[in-house]
């Protein structure tokens, strides 16, 4: 469990980071908090030639609420977001989900953008971003583009990021008046990746229910405000559409069951605030 040799570049600015990405492309990886990357390197599941450390970049830190979005820059840790004084009112879903991410020790190192870029199907932050319908800001040496979460996540550990790009910022939509949010997760132990995680946003136009831990990426259903049998039917349809799989911890049937029962629980709770 020692990584293969790599070169280490410490970027002091975002410009330096993307310049290095432009030079090394797919041979390079951004190192932010390292909570997934270092384990992957130590097990030699990946052997990038260059690591570009953005941990100490001055211009990639910061959380800002601006034009309907909470913008979280690339070097912001999960603990940094969790401790944001207005997180509960700005993006209540995040306030509910963040304590489920690993443990406080890992949240102190792990970054928000890093989790989004890694795109683990069982991770909480991609689920929240997809459910809220947020965006990812991708930056390369010469360009910057903003991409909707649903286009950004393309599969298990796969995103639309090109090798020259880094996730510079993620944008979580700010909560609107009258919106309700709910998050519920079942994992084997506290802090584990979700067996099933559900995130929901209910507003005037209907409900968005995001499911993590089941399909190859977070999947979001958009429904009008369903109730009773119609809701159960929709949940059952969703449970099957996710293509749940067995693993050593939980059966596919168990995952479907949780989608149905916890989905119902979550939505009922939001209906009766």
């Amino acid at each position: 469990m020692k990584p293969a040799a790599f070169d280490y570049i410490r970027a002091d600015t975002a410009d330096e980071a993307v310049a290095a990405l432009a030079e090394y492309g797919d041979d390079a990886r951004i190192l932010a908090g390292g909570q997934s990357l270092m384990a992957i390197l130590n097990m030699r599941l990946a052997q990038p030639k260059v690591l570009i450390d953005i941990h100490r970049t001055g211009d990639l830190s910061g959380i800002e609420a601006r034009s309907d979005r909470l913008r979280v820059r690339a070097a912001v840790t999960q603990a940094g977001l969790e401790r944001h004084p207005r997180i509960e009112s700005l993006v209540p879903l995040l306030a509910q989900a963040l304590p489920h991410i690993g443990h406080f020790q890992t949240r102190n190192r792990g970054t928000v953008c890093g989790s989004i870029a890694h795109a683990d199907p069982g991770a909480e932050l991609p689920l929240c971003l997809a459910t809220l319908g947020g965006e990812v800001v991708l930056r390369s040496k010469n360009a910057r583009r903003t991409m909707a979460a649903q286009d950004f996540f393309t599969g298990m550990l796969q995103t639309a990021r090109t090798p020259e790009e880094m996730v510079e910022e993620v944008c979580f939509p700010l909560a609107c008046d009258g919106e309700h949010h709910g998050f519920i997760e079942v994992s084997m132990r506290h802090g584990d990746f979700a067996v099933v995680a559900l995130a929901a946003v209910a507003g005037a136009d209907g409900i968005r229910l995001g499911v993590g831990g089941v399909a190859d990426r977070a999947q979001v259903a958009r429904w009008p405000r369903l109730r009773g049998a119609a809701l159960d039917e929709a949940l059952n349809q969703l449970a099957w559409d996710l293509g749940a799989q067995d693993d050593q911890h939980a059966s596919a049937a168990y995952r479907r069951h949780l989608v149905r029962t916890l989905g119902r629980q979550l939505i009922d709770k939001m209906d009766a605030p």
Partner: protein
């Protein structure tokens, strides 16, 4: 140090009234540990030219090894040597083991590998990084063989054989009869029978194995520093495997350990490998096991299938017991196995007064990591069967479980009690312990809570477990596996000697050393208490050395830290050595005071004649004198103030003619009560209250005792609810990280209610017994009984299979899984826990004719462009190719040297496309039938694939394996379709909009 009065002090302790022993004295070890100045094996300095080792391990569960090419590794930077089976054969010998069978186990695989993770070669380089770089370059040619991972499958006729020369996977099959079980079963009004399985699990210490070995010049043998913990009978096993006399294998053990729980016993084959690596490299070699290596290949508790049956009276009284046990020892029977069976043999009747017993023990090899010592050793397996059976007796006869216990316990006036298989159970009061547990643990309140919960429709259960906890093993118990005739030939064995040395230095300081090798339990603390009491000193006056050096210290075959032998045996030996030294000092002091030696008092760091306390002199002055003025020694007193005590329990003997064996010197008792609730929505278990009552004889330090109980309880809870080494049916190991091998964290472990009683052992010097393993034995069964109680009598008792994960529990509660509206149920049910036997089938529609698709598959250049990550495809035969592939998802990528083959070719209708590859991340194999069905302008491609993934990637990536395999199959067919279209149209098939749509069609269904 503040010492509150000891609430647990026993009036009946056989030692003189003491001041420190029995008090919850603070741990002396912690100042160093908490300030980062511990002395762990990896922290100790090594010689400047020390090299570092990395193992090359098998990705296959079962394969022939046809060759090893280390040339690329040897050419790699910083590499000094590569050790292979050839070297091991030249310099070493296979390990000896307690069962005579033509089965060879070497420290590196020779002709065959038998489990995933088995060491095949060892690279020695200037640092660990370079060694791992080179380990990835060692090319091993494997020919995979059929695999057997299930115990019963492996034991059955026709299973793939692990050791051909044995002719069976059942390495030992012994039956025992005590009393007249047949008559008892024939006469009994009830027979209660249960088949249970105990999973493979472990206790996973935070520190893995560490070894530093040096091959000494000339024929001086080997010097080894390691965190080996015994039993030191294995020293002989290692010396024989190294082909040196035992005095040429020096083992040194450091002071501190990052835990063992028995597990570090399994370092011994690695010590032999590192010794031989040092010999080959001509320099000292160091190896520090990493977490992945530890989980994959260090050791495991045996998995067990037990069929247990009781002959029972109407009132629940058990007349006879019958066990039929199959133990899964993994790929090799490794010393001291099959000790998991035989450690418990004498006390298989548990806490119950049952005189008729039948036992059949079968030792079975499977394609899994070899088994060995894991805290509780043998107890969890036996008590899971026995205590689940007690639960079933209560349920089937409609009796209160408490009544069943009280009716069957060994009576309190029957101790020492001879159990039918030979255990001489030294002391106890089982009825008293149950009553204490019920009162202190609030059983009546738990029952009320259960009633209330059930009235509200909630799932609440109460479970019990009663276990006899053996401590201080007889090394001779393992010979019970031999026939009487074989035992007679080999000579009677009953090794159990404990050693301790107490000396006084020239300023009167007291020094203690023991052959114990503590693993974090606080031996130093307890020894200072015990020895301080003998000399009338304070614990802080006593220096304790727990490092061990087989060249310098007193040790024997039973030395080491296992079978809960410290409190009963080792602390007792230290007490005896101190008593002996005190007696000598008393003779010296009596001469000086002019009184009888029996009148000398050692108290408050002073020595004086009982009748004349005013003449007291400081202990240090009295005790240092003999160093400075030996001429003043009284006549007949030899110079030197150092005593070594060798203590062996008189009650231990070799197995007798009737196969009776007193397996341990002392037997503690644990009675547990658990109240728990199951969440109907998620199947999660919440332990409401856990009461654990221990009688471990005299407690030497109740605070340390409670620490042991909490730790054992956490591990027992883990075994009950989460922990398991999972294997796929093809033998791939799936629990290579702590994300998949789930150990409960502080968040998951409730605080147990700990209740003590003390019935001193008449057979140990201090009246103490072991207590560190009890909850590993009792808690899995107790929680399982509570879960069974919560789920109710309708649930099949044999479906209570550990670990009881939420998914399993919910399946037992029953979860409706209605098919989606308008669709038949489409998934094929799989055996739960079957893990990564990936079978994928589905269909995709390709915009090309079957002929065009077929043409791509048969054209090597086109095929190369279709196979994902294919760098090179060289024909090596008709429709057979050698390929270099890079497969992966996201940033995770692995390079494989692969073979691709087309067969069953029926153009343009169907063929089989198969491939297998091997690389540093493991082995993959996939084979699938592909059918092409014309469908208008499309071709419908139907496939049915089986994919097997093994080695590192399976061990650490289980959660994503199936998804990743789908991604890769997806890529394969998507590229096939695109290529066929391009061929047909003679132009680039880059019609993005159309392809976007097609990709959506390509969604796989199972």
């Amino acid at each position: 140090m503040v010492n509150p009065p000891n609430p647990f002090a026993s009036e009946a302790a056989p030692v003189p009234s003491t001041r420190w022993t029995g008090l919850p004295v603070e741990r002396r070890e912690d100042a160093a540990l908490l300030t980062g100045t511990g002395r762990f094996a990896d922290d100790l300095g090594v010689l400047p030219d020390t090299l570092h080792a990395a193992f090359v391990r098998s990705p296959h569960a079962h394969a022939r090894v046809n060759g090893i090419d280390a040339s690329a590794a040897l050419a790699s930077a910083g590499v000094r040597a590569v050790l292979t089976g050839e070297d091991v054969k030249r310099w070493g010998a296979p390990f000896v083991v307690g069962v005579k069978a033509p089965m060879q186990h070497w420290c590196l695989a020779l002709d065959k590998v038998r489990y995933v993770g088995e060491p095949v070669a060892l690279v020695v380089a200037e640092n660990r990084y370079l060694a791992e770089d080179a380990a990835d370059l060692v090319r091993v040619e494997y020919a995979p063989l059929p695999v057997t991972v299930d115990i019963e499958h492996a034991a059955a006729n026709g299973a793939p054989l692990l050791h051909d020369a044995v002719g069976s996977n059942v390495i030992s099959d012994r039956s025992f009869v005590y009393g007249d079980p047949d008559a008892a079963f024939a006469a009994a009004p009830h027979r209660v029978r249960l088949k249970v399985r105990y999973p493979r699990n472990s206790c996973t210490p935070i520190e893995g194995f560490v070894a530093v070995a040096e091959h000494l010049a000339g024929d001086d043998g080997y010097d080894v520093l390691s965190n080996f913990m015994g039993p030191f009978s294995l020293h002989a096993v290692m010396a024989l495997a190294l082909k040196v006399t035992s005095n040429k294998l020096r083992l040194r053990m450091p002071r501190d350990s990052g835990g063992s729980f028995g597990v570090k016993q399994a370092i011994f084959p690695y010590l032999v490998a590192i010794c031989l690596a040092s010999r080959k490299a001509g320099a000292p070699v160091k190896w520090v096991e990493d977490r992945l290596e530890h989980l994959v290949a260090a050791t495991s508790a045996t998995g067990r299938v037990s069929t247990i049956e009781a002959a029972v009276e109407r009132d629940g009284r058990i007349l006879a017991l019958a066990y039929d046990q199959l133990d899964d020892v993994g790929g090799y029977l490794r010393a001291p196995e099959p000790a998991t069976f035989y450690r418990m043999h004498g006390c298989l009747t548990g806490a119950y007064d049952v005189q008729h017993l039948r036992v059949r023990n079968r030792v079975v090899v499977t394609n899994k990591t070899p088994a060995g010592l894991v805290r509780g050793f043998g107890g969890p397996q036996v008590y899971f069967a026995l205590e689940r059976l007690i639960n079933r007796i209560a349920v089937e006869l409609n009796l209160d479980p408490v009544g069943v216990y009280l009716r069957n316990f060994v009576p309190r006036n029957a101790f020492p009690y001879r159990a039918p298989a030979g255990a001489l159970i030294d002391s106890g009061d089982y009825q008293g312990a149950l009553e204490l547990a019920s009162v202190e643990g609030g059983l009546a309140d738990l029952r009320k809570r259960r009633d209330q919960a059930r009235a509200e429709g909630r799932l609440y259960g109460i479970g019990f477990a009663a276990i006899v906890e053996p401590s201080i093993s007889s090394m001779g118990y393992i010979t019970t596996v031999m026939s009487r005739e074989a035992r007679a030939k080999a000579g009677p064995k009953s090794g159990a000697i404990a050693t301790a040395t107490v000396g006084v230095d020239p300023l009167g300081g007291v020094n203690v050393s023991v052959a114990s090798v503590p693993q974090g339990q606080g031996h130093i603390t307890v020894l200072t208490q015990v020895v301080a009491d003998v000399f009338g000193l304070r614990p802080g006056d006593i220096a304790v050395d727990v490092e061990l050096d087989t060249r310098k210290d007193a040790w024997s075959v039973a030395s080491g830290n296992y079978s809960s032998r410290f409190a009963g045996a080792v602390a007792g030996a230290a007490h005896l050595a101190a008593i002996r030294l005190r007696a000598k000092l008393a003779v010296i002091a009596a001469a000086q005071f002019g009184c009888h030696e029996g009148d000398i008092v050692f108290e408050n760091a002073r020595v004086f004649p009982r009748s004349e306390p005013a003449r007291a002199v400081a202990f240090t002055r009295m005790a240092s004198g003999p160093h400075w003025a030996p001429a003043l020694l009284p006549p007949g007193v030899e110079p030197g103030l150092r005593e070594t005590a060798f203590w062996t329990p008189e009650v231990l003997a070799a197995p007798d003619e009737q196969d009776r064996i007193n397996t341990s010197a002392a037997y503690g008792f644990v009675f547990d009560i658990c109240g728990l609730e199951i969440d109907r929505a998620t199947g999660k278990v919440r332990v409401d209250r856990y009461v654990t009552t221990h009688d471990a004889g005299t407690l030497l330090n109740p605070a340390l005792a409670d620490g042991q109980i909490r730790g054992g309880f956490a591990q027992g809870l883990g075994a009950a609810l989460m922990e398991q080494f999972a294997y796929a049916p093809d033998g791939a190991f799936l629990s290579g990280t702590f994300a998949d091998y789930l150990v409960p964290t502080a968040m998951d472990v409730p605080e147990p209610v700990i209740v003590h009683m003390q019935t001193p052992s008449p057979f140990t010097p201090l009246g103490a017994k072991g207590l560190g393993e009890g909850n590993n034995m009792s808690t899995p069964a107790c929680i399982a009984n509570a879960i069974a109680d919560a789920l109710g009598p309708a649930v099949d008792p044999e479906s209570i299979v550990l670990p009881m994960t939420p998914s399993k529990i919910l399946a037992l509660i029953g979860m409706p899984d209605p098919p989606p509206a308008g669709r038949a149920r489409s998934d094929t049910p799989r055996r739960p826990g079957s893990g990564q036997a990936l079978v994928m089938s589905g269909a995709v529609e390709l915009v090309a004719s079957p002929e065009a698709v077929f043409a791509v598959l048969l054209d090597p250049a086109a095929l190369a462009s279709v196979i994902p990550g294919c760098h090179e495809l060289k024909a090596v035969g008709e429709n057979r190719y050698a390929a270099e592939l890079t497969l992966g998802i996201g940033l995770v990528k692995a390079r494989y040297a692969a073979e691709v083959a087309l067969s069953e070719i029926d153009p343009p209708r169907s063929l089989r496309l198969a491939g297998r590859g091997i690389g540093s991340l493991g082995a993959i194999e996939g084979s699938g039938k592909v059918k092409l069905v014309p469908a208008g302008s499309f071709t419908r491609l139907e496939y049915e694939y089986e994919v097997a993934v093994s080695g590192k990637i399976a061990a650490v990536g289980g959660r994503m394996l199936e998804g990743a395999a789908r991604v890769i199959l997806d890529q394969l067919f998507e590229r096939l379709g695109r290529r066929a279209l391009r061929r047909k149209e003679g132009g680039p098939g880059e019609r993005a909009g159309f392809w976007q749509r097609l990709l959506r069609v390509l969604r796989m269904t199972r």
